[in-house]
């Protein structure tokens, strides 16, 4: 299997123009401990995401709660500053290939022309380095509809003030003109002038979400981030809101980033989807392809666990074991492997995996561990207080998928167990077919999703 090189950020989804392109975006939050509040670790909410959002299309972002999809949405909206990586705004394919080329060259090796070109790209397109003027234009151009329409509308403001506020802040309208513009916006989302002087509590959930959408559309944006816009609504109301969103996209030529955990909705709404797991993108591709023939075990599991009204394509349902690992210390190699039903030797087993397994499945053995001496993430000597338990621990590893990944057989020496695994580098998102990206190491080697 030959792999096509490059990063997902270069995949413009068949268009030549991206609203936003992300390069290795990271958001790490420090974990502070003790009286001195020393930083003891980083919560890797978003950990190296490459992504492009093609103009005029809908990109769906799916994943479990806590996988970083909302944080990624907030980074793109400019509400959270990334701790690493670049966000490029309004780039076309030629500019993008220039960015890719220049990123590959170290700063001191760049020729004067390269430096000038990098500088001009940065000041025109990079979020954070752009001029104030451009930054403010991007903020007008990119709007967000939040998940909970109950807490994202100020309960003490009238609809006129809520929807009219963006117009006032950007000095677009005032006085009677403002009222006229607000009524136009309300009519656009299926409300009318009689709702102008009401408070949010006088509306139902669906109507509030309409107000949120009207507010997002006030400044004629090109790009709207929809953060779970229908998860708090009933199906019949959800259908009304989804239809409204599709109509608005057709009429106004909007680009959507649709963040959700509901696979039925994302399948209906998006052209392409990105599946996120533990702060990274696991799979990316056209929606129908990802649903019909997933290339990452996680997408397959998500699809199988989603209840549908129609019979599923495959009779064998894949299931996830265990719980979401701690994002402070994510698993080595492929991040899914401790929970993956098809994990094998190459997936990146490490000391933490066998210890977590012992804690969860053989608590008696885990409690007798007296110390763990690590020489690296993959090599350690585990000491037990009783030789009996050390034997059980070694036996348990032998029964796991992890034992295939052992560099050398487990050395059992009375109370000591020496474990060493093959070192595996972090799984990378790679293009397997045209427009299909997956980060599963086994799929990359086999060229297709492994059999159960």
């Amino acid at each position: 299997m030959t792999l096509l090189s490059g990063s997902l950020a270069a995949d413009f989804g068949g268009t030549t123009d991206a609203v936003v392109a992300l390069h290795g975006v990271k958001v790490h939050y420090p974990v502070k401990e003790g009286v001195l509040q020393r930083v003891t670790g980083q919560v890797r909410a978003v950990d190296g995401v490459d992504l492009s959002i093609p103009r005029g299309q809908t990109l769906g972002l799916v994943g479990e709660s806590g996988c970083g999809k909302t944080t990624l949405g907030r980074v793109i909206a400019g509400l959270v500053a990334p701790t690493g990586g670049d966000i490029w705004v309004d780039v076309d394919a030629t500019q993008h290939s220039e960015i890719e080329r220049l990123r590959g060259v170290a700063t001191e090796d760049r020729s004067p022309e390269d430096q000038a070109s990098w500088k001009s790209l940065e000041s025109n397109h990079r979020l954070g380095s752009m001029s104030r003027d451009k930054q403010s234009r991007y903020r007008r151009n990119c709007q967000v509809v939040f998940q909970d329409a109950f807490s994202s509308l100020n309960p003490r403001q009238l609809v006129r003030d809520i929807v009219g506020r963006p117009l006032r802040v950007h000095k677009e309208a005032s006085g009677e003109d403002l009222d006229r513009r607000v009524i136009e916006l309300l009519e656009r989302v299926g409300l009318d002038s009689q709702h102008l002087l009401r408070f949010p509590h006088q509306f139902s959930g669906g109507q509030r979400q309409r107000i949120s959408i009207a507010r997002a559309l006030a400044l004629n944006p090109e790009f709207v981030i929809l953060d779970e816009p229908t998860s708090a609504l009933d199906v019949s109301v959800q259908a009304q809101i989804l239809n409204l969103l599709v109509d608005l996209q057709k009429d106004l030529g909007l680009t959507y980033l649709f963040i959700t955990h509901d696979l039925g909705v994302v399948q209906h709404m998006s052209d392409r989807i990105a599946v996120m797991y533990l702060g990274q993108i696991a799979e990316y591709g056209p929606t129908a392809d990802v649903f019909n023939s997933p290339l990452h075990p996680y997408s397959r599991i998500l699809r199988d666990s989603n209840p549908t009204l129609e019979d599923s394509l495959d009779t064998v349902k894949w299931d996830l074991s265990g719980t979401v690992p701690n994002p402070v210390n994510p698993p080595q190699g492929c991040r899914l492997h401790p929970r993956c039903p098809v994990a094998r030797a190459e997936c990146g087993w490490s000391i933490d995996d066998v210890l977590t397994d012992a804690e969860r499945n053989t608590p008696v053995v885990f409690e007798t561990i007296s110390r763990v001496e690590r020489s690296s993430d993959f090599r350690a000597t585990v000491s037990f207080s009783e030789p009996e338990q050390a034997k059980k621990f070694a036996k348990r590893i032998g029964s796991l998928a992890a034992h295939e990944a052992l560099e050398q057989p487990i050395r059992l020496d009375d109370k000591l167990v020496e474990v060493s695994f093959n070192e595996v580098s972090e799984a990378q998102l790679q293009q397997l077919k045209d427009g299909r990206w997956s980060s599963c190491t086994r799929t990359q080697n086999l060229g297709a999703l492994p059999e159960l």
Binding site: V235, D247, H268
Partner: protein, 397 residues
């Protein structure tokens, strides 16, 4: 409607009203259904349709006032064939039923568990309330003549001082008692697939993940082997991957213990996999009730049809979801008519004048829609009737 006689729980003509400053809200309006032993009945409907109030009425958990049971009865059949009327029984009888014969899992496990108590103590309350003699017996006490302090400790009502004095004045009894309680709790926890239940005993709810909290709730609800489990949207607050496992767990527990389940949800796709029968509620009334496979395959009430069409499917063209027009009507002093008439494409004059009754249209299938009724029976002229429908030929609008 046709009803057979081997029911476990019978809800008959139940109406629950709430007083408010604007008038009387008819949250549940003349609802009747039966739950049979070992079956799963799904109660489906949108927010505010009265499904949770119906479920809470079964345990008499609706606060009075502002709520009041305006009409009807709820009967629970006991093991010896006698029947307990829940709505008129004494508070003591109802308490002995709650958690023992009928128990409930709530929607948000984060809110339903007490954040100030360890998991061990919360679950111990169930055993203290309903399994006193078993706990005392296991600890080596005579269940017939327990000491007062021992009972209070089992019921989790003994204060720190009382426990301390008891520990000092008795030899091994306090330890045996605590061990007996812990063993019962751990058994209940282990039954729901919780790894390491001993560690769980001392944990507080905030230390657990959402799925784990819901498992604790299930362990608590099933601790006393209830005959009926009421599950009020047990997976709404959880991820799909965890939802599948929790539903499997509830299903497996049902297979093992043979209880009946009243499963409340707004998600019709879960009904298909999980329920034997489904009852669809709209604005406080039952719209349709029948075997879930049949109802989902050929819905007869226009509301059920609308609800099913509104779910996004792979084949639906984008932006053409069949949304039900309009909004849910007010429940305050509703007029005597079909509540769905204002949103229904079949509606005719009769629908705005007469309240429809549940009619049996086929074996085990009841629908409350005038399209299955006759003009003479409801007393209107034939031209006021909506176009008649028959089962099988689902008329399209």
């Amino acid at each position: 409607m046709a009803r057979s006689d081997d029911w476990l729980l019978r809800v008959d003509d139940l109406s629950v009203h709430f007083e408010s400053s604007k008038g009387v809200a008819h949250a549940v309006d003349h609802v009747s259904f039966d739950i049979y032993p070992h079956e799963t009945l799904a109660l489906v409907g949108e927010t505010g349709c009265g499904k949770s109030v119906t479920a809470r009425s079964i345990l008499r958990l609706v606060p009075e006032p502002p709520g009041s049971y305006a009409s009807g009865s709820i009967s629970l059949r006991n093991g010896d064939g006698s029947v307990t009327e829940i709505l008129t029984a004494t508070e003591r009888t109802v308490r002995s039923i709650r958690g023992d014969r009928i128990s409930m899992i709530f929607q948000d496990p984060g809110k339903a568990l007490n954040p100030g108590l360890t998991i061990g103590r919360q679950l111990a309350e169930v055993f203290g309330e309903h399994r006193m003699s078993m706990i005392l017996g296991n600890a080596g006490f005579d269940p017939e003549k327990p000491s007062r302090t021992a009972t209070k400790i089992v019921q989790q009502r003994a204060g720190l001082l009382e426990r301390g004095v008891y520990r000092l004045t008795h030899l091994r009894a306090p330890k045996a008692l605590q061990k007996s309680i812990d063993d019962s709790v751990m058994e209940a926890l282990a039954d729901t697939g919780i790894p390491n239940p001993r560690k769980m005993l001392g944990s507080y709810p905030h230390e657990l993940s959402g799925g784990m909290k819901q498992r604790v709730m299930i362990a608590q609800a099933l601790a006393c082997d209830p005959d009926l489990l009421i599950a009020d949207e047990p997976t709404t607050a959880l991820d799909v991957t965890i939802q599948a496992r929790i539903l499997d767990l509830i299903h497996e527990m049902q297979q093992r213990r043979g209880m009946a389940i009243l499963y409340i949800t707004h998600d019709l796709s879960l009904v298909r996999q999980f329920a034997d029968r489904v009852a669809v509620m709209y604005a406080g009334r039952l719209a349709e009730i029948g075997p879930s496979a049949e109802v989902l395959a050929s819905p007869q009430h226009p509301y059920t049809q609308g609800l099913l069409a509104a779910i996004p499917r792979p084949a639906t063209p984008r932006g053409q979801l069949a949304a039900i027009p309009g909004t849910v009507p007010q429940l305050i002093d509703p007029p005597a008519q079909c509540h769905f008439a204002s949103r229904c494409s079949f509606a005719a004059a009769a629908c705005h004048e007469v309240t429809p009754q549940l009619l049996t249209i086929a074996e085990k299938r009841d629908v409350s829609c005038h399209r299955f009724d006759t003009a003479s029976r409801i007393g209107v002229s034939p031209q006021d009737m909506p176009s008649a429908a028959t089962l099988g030929g689902v008329a399209s609008s």
